[in-house]
Amino acid sequence: MAFGTNIRSVGLAFAGGAVGSVLRALVGDAFDSLTTLIVVNLLGAAFLGWVNGSALGPKQRFASAQSKVFWGAGFAGGFTTMSGLALATVMLSMFATPVLAVGYVAAQFVLGLGAYLLAYRLSRGAWPNA
């Protein structure tokens, strides 16, 4: 997934990332940390799968480089967080048990891959009348 890094692309990533980050903070205000991470990372992974799959679908939505940068690298990237997940892993291993920490992050990794793949496949083949 290589994007051109011209000024326009950087600006689009900035704008999408700003929106995604604010939305992540708002979700974080509504839920506890562990629930927030599950919500943002699984929804964000599914959203990126939907964007990438749609670009290859019959209607080729999000197919332009600008759409991919804004919605994919920007919005989905800003909405999801690996650093928050890493902090939660360390906190769980310190204040709960290492087994729980590894189980939490590994489950989120596997579910995240599944969410991406499911959305990708659905969007790639499910645009007949849209």
């Binding site: 997934m1 990332g17 980050s21 990126l48 800003g78 650093s83 928050g84």
Partner: protein, 124 residues
């Protein structure tokens, strides 16, 4: 970090998160071009962001919150990691897929611990 729609700092905090999150995301786009056998740019962004989160965790206040929630959150990404890992697996590049899985599982967590150590040494 956010409190309530009615508190004076709410909109300022949101604006700060937007600014710092946008900057982190823009930086991630730039470094994502570093892509060899593995997506090293994205992995580096995740590790650096985790280091910053660990560092910020040892401090208190508005700016450390913006650094963690805004900049580090924007710099790191779970969705691109998922896309790349699925891509490796679907291309039958299983070794790269497993490596991308394991490295993003282990290195960011180690970076958080390193950041906490740095923060507790430098901020106190």
């Amino acid at each position: 970090m956010l409190n309530s729609l009615t508190t004076p700092g709410f909109w300022l905090t949101l604006a700060g998160i937007a600014l710092f999150g946008g900057l982190g995301s823009a930086l991630r786009l730039v470094i994502s071009g570093w892509h060899g056998k593995l997506p090293w740019g994205i992995l580096s962004g995740n590790v650096i962001a985790s280091l910053l989160v660990g560092f910020a965790f040892t401090g208190q206040g508005f700016w450390t919150g913006l650094l963690a929630t805004g900049f580090a959150g924007g710099l790191s990404t779970f969705s691109s990691w998922a896309a790349q890992t699925v891509h490796f697996m679907s291309q039958n590049n299983r070794v790269q897929g497993y490596l991308n899985f394991v490295l993003n599982l282990v290195l960011p967590a180690c970076a958080v611990v390193a950041g906490m150590y740095l923060g507790s040494s430098l901020l106190k």
